[in-house]
Amino acid sequence: MTRLAVSAPGEKMAAVQDGGSEPEGEKEPQPELPSDGSSAPAATPASKPEEQQQQQQQTLLAVLQFLKRNKLIESVDALRREAGLADEPDEAPGSEAGGGVGGAAAGSADSADASALLSRVAGAAQSGAASAPAKGGEDQPDVSVVLSAYSQQGDPSLYQVYYSGLKKFIESVLDCHRAELSQLFYPLFVHMYLELVYNNHESEAKAFFEKFSGDQECYYQDDLRVLSGLTKKEHMKGNETLLDFRTSKFVLRISRDSYQLLKRHLQERQNNQIWNIIQEHLYIDIFDGMPRSKSQIDSMSGSLAGEARREANKAKVFYGLLKEPEIEVPLDDEDEEAENEEGKPKKKKPKKDSMGSKSKKQDPNAPQQNRIPLPELKDSDKLDKIMYMKEATKRIRLGPETLPSICFYTFLNVYQGLTAVDFTDDSSLIAGGFADSTVRVWSVTPKKLRKVKSAADLSLIDKESDDVLERIMDEKTASESKILYGHSGPVYGVSFSPDRNYLLSSSEDGTVRLWSLQTFTCLVAYKGHNYPVWDTQFSPYGYYFVSGGHDRVARLWATDHYQPLRMFAGHLGDITCTRFHPNSNYVATGSADRTIRLWDVLNGHCVRVFTGHKGPIHSLAFSPNGKYLASGSTDGRVLLWDLGHGLMIGELKGHTDTVYALKFSRDGEILASGSMDNTVRLWDAFKAFDDVETDDFTAATGHIHLPDNSQELLLGTYLTKATPVIHLHFTRRNLLLAAGSYNSQ
């Protein structure tokens, strides 16, 4: 592997090595050269001649770089003369590792492409491996790893032996350790298989796969099926997810005792191939404490990159809500609420605790008001807020005894073309995104949809009249629904703005479009993703919106910037669901790599990683108090997460198919979930979170044994005739609205 031929990570590597082995610097090149000379031919007895030559070239490049670093100029010149190398190959791997796509894409010859890929892979593994010696604390394994990386390519037939050896060992350990060590099987299997494929040992790879793929856990079956179709190196190049898998570290959490057992076993054997793979590709997060049971491990595993490291979930998250602004209400109204808290505290209704700022001091868990810039309230927004508060007083208190009524909006004659639905917050409008690239907006109330008059007609109206806002609307074209044309591909996400002026839609054509709901025309097309955008959502305060798509990146935009403000990169698979936190400071993204990440809008850092789902995540919902997150995926489970501590606190089993819709009721008492199995289920959210408060979170490992109480938490199951539920929405008075398209077959 060209560990030393890569620029920036290479510097780190060299630094570590130089720091540790400065006196050996002189001696090392000498034994390096002959050993390289001898290992190169020994490394590739079975490979094709061009493979061998390429490896020799890589070795020479590696040696050259090392010599240059140690300022052995004459040796460099001598070697270069003898090898007949030009300067240019030295630059290419370095720049490509730094620059990424451009070089790799432009490479036309197969070998150049492969070497670019190789250096890229090595470069990324490099930065991970740089921490490995820091952890291991020794230099020798690195050099031997480098050399053995060549030699292990020559022994493809031995891979089966190594794997079965490990299997036998793990089966022989104590029960309590066996569950933990069994976690190793899957990543080792995949990495060994990919090594074989990458080094063109197709038949050995196939044999290896057939022998051991049946042993893996059931929830990895989808990945294994993708792997089974991947038999040549060329197949790997197009598959970004697998490349990411190869370059990122699979995280395992193992107790110290189990780890010692494993280490002792692997190091006493002659071949340490598996140990090499572990060091290179796996990150073992060691904890002190009891080994975990199989069920505990199963509940947390399933993602493409293993579990989350403990440090990944340690950052502070401000999950509290922002303070509501104080609004003066004109007191000539027939309702006698006094929102002016300073003036009339006696008249405060008891339901107002979320509205009024009872405690003047800052909630320690809430972000500062100005942590991220938010648009200030316009007069129309203040009127909206007043309406909101009025409706809130008429809200029904839900609970296990008072379940909400459900009103279902069925889209007919769509023939599986409905791909996205959204309601406005006050439930007055529905938007549907369709596979024929249109977006349609309907009015839920009897009031028709009107657009603003054309410029000619606007000049004719009386601008001074009181009802000017009605006069500017065109009565002649009022209709129940309006169709918005503009996208050139199916529309996968729609989102209304909180002030009901704008509608966002994201589509397979890679753009996110902003539509005006006053003129019903398209205002802006935001281009940034070049691949399908699977979901988009406006921030609860307007102005910002987030979108996520096939390119594995979620972007934060503002309506008045044509380029994104933040890019959230880190997922290994497509981002299928993006949601804002109620305080607009965090964005949650669910992905096809079966993890959920929480991103900080302020600096773009990933503050939480939640693993545990066994399929791509299709729905996310934050609780109204901002503390909890619910997620639903294709495996039919709904998982509940505590944001402050970064832990899984609940699992709701019941659905038999993908959960596409999740919504909390307005006060967070009930969680409603809608799924492809044509049902809506209601769960008792208060009870699910209550059970958790009493547990002791200070266990450093954070392993919660989840009680299997899904049945107690399930409050009701409501079946539709043949309509998968795509969207759920609680009105301001806690009536549940659901939407889906009738599936006639």
């Binding site: 179709g229 598959n239 370059t247 599986q416 025309t521 008045d560 959230f568």
Partner: protein, 273 residues
């Protein structure tokens, strides 16, 4: 797989003419070999439920892809002056097609680097009271995407010839000849159209670019009298249509706007009548 064109009409097992039924396959013996292979591939990849048309779709894609690659490889082989296509040509053809049509998203380290740079800049402050918050106009889609006709009246003077600086044959209106044109009105935006010229037997569109600056757009389309027409002697036309669109005013502004037939033209799409 043989690159034979699959028979599209042999849709395997559409039951009852229903749209979108899941698989109710006819017995595999009756299917062509290509379709059987495709069914096997789908099964291997774990796809168990699919509409019958999917097989046809996949086969068509396969055929198209393979022929494109092979044709490209043939071109590369002839370029390299080889007598036959070999594996290197195919490999090159595949690679070029991959870079062109089947691009994949950027790799993770690149994305992380770009994201790191982008996330360093602080969030911009929001200007208060700014009206609708939209990007600068050139990034919005709010500009008009049409242009109205210019309104100049100009007396043309040339005699005897139609000046034809630019012939756009491609813009010929392919309407069948209508002898009864009524008033053979021709849309013009002013022209130096000369009077009678024998134009029989020809069908062409003439565009004479204006040498004047384009006129100011009118804001309201309802302004009357914006149409300039040329009345051409019917004897000119014969049995063919002649479309003359010019940008200069003709000498005969007639009031025949009422009987004007709307012509199919390139520039002026929205003539007010």
């Amino acid at each position: 797989m043989r690159p034979a064109r699959p028979d599209v009409t042999s849709s395997a097992g559409l039951v009852g003419g229903e749209k979108g039924t899941t698989v109710k396959m006819a017995s595999p013996k009756t299917l062509p070999k290509d379709a059987q292979v495709m069914i096997q591939i789908l099964k291997d990849m774990g796809i168990t439920e699919y509409e019958p048309r999917v097989i046809n779709q996949m086969l068509e894609f396969t055929y198209r892809y393979v022929t494109t690659i092979i044709e490209d490889a043939k071109i590369y082989a002839t370029h390299a002056k080889k007598s036959s296509v070999d594996a290197d040509d195919i490999r090159l053809a595949i690679q070029c097609r991959m870079d062109q049509s089947f691009t994949s998203p950027p790799p993770r380290d690149f994305l992380l680097e770009v994201a790191r740079q982008k996330n360093q800049t602080p969030l911009p402050l929001i200007k208060p009271y700014a009206g609708p918050r939209l990007p600068p106009d050139r990034y919005c889609l709010t500009a008009p995407n049409y242009r109205l006709k210019s309104l100049q009246k100009k007396v043309s003077s040339s005699a005897g010839r139609i000046t034809v600086p630019r012939l756009s044959v491609g813009a010929v209106s392919s309407r069948p000849s209508t002898p009864t044109l009524g008033t053979p009105a021709v849309q013009t935006m002013g022209s130096k159209v000369g009077t009678p010229v024998s134009l029989t037997g020809q069908r062409f569109t003439v565009q004479i670019p204006s040498s004047q600056a384009p006129s100011v757009k009118t804001a309201t389309p309802s302004t009357p009298g914006a149409v300039q027409n040329v009345l051409i002697n019917p004897s000119l036309i014969g049995s063919k249509n002649i479309l003359i669109t010019t940008n200069m005013v003709s000498q005969n502004s007639s009031s025949d706007s009422g009987s004007l037939k709307r012509k199919h033209e390139d520039d002026d799409d929205y003539d007010a009548l």
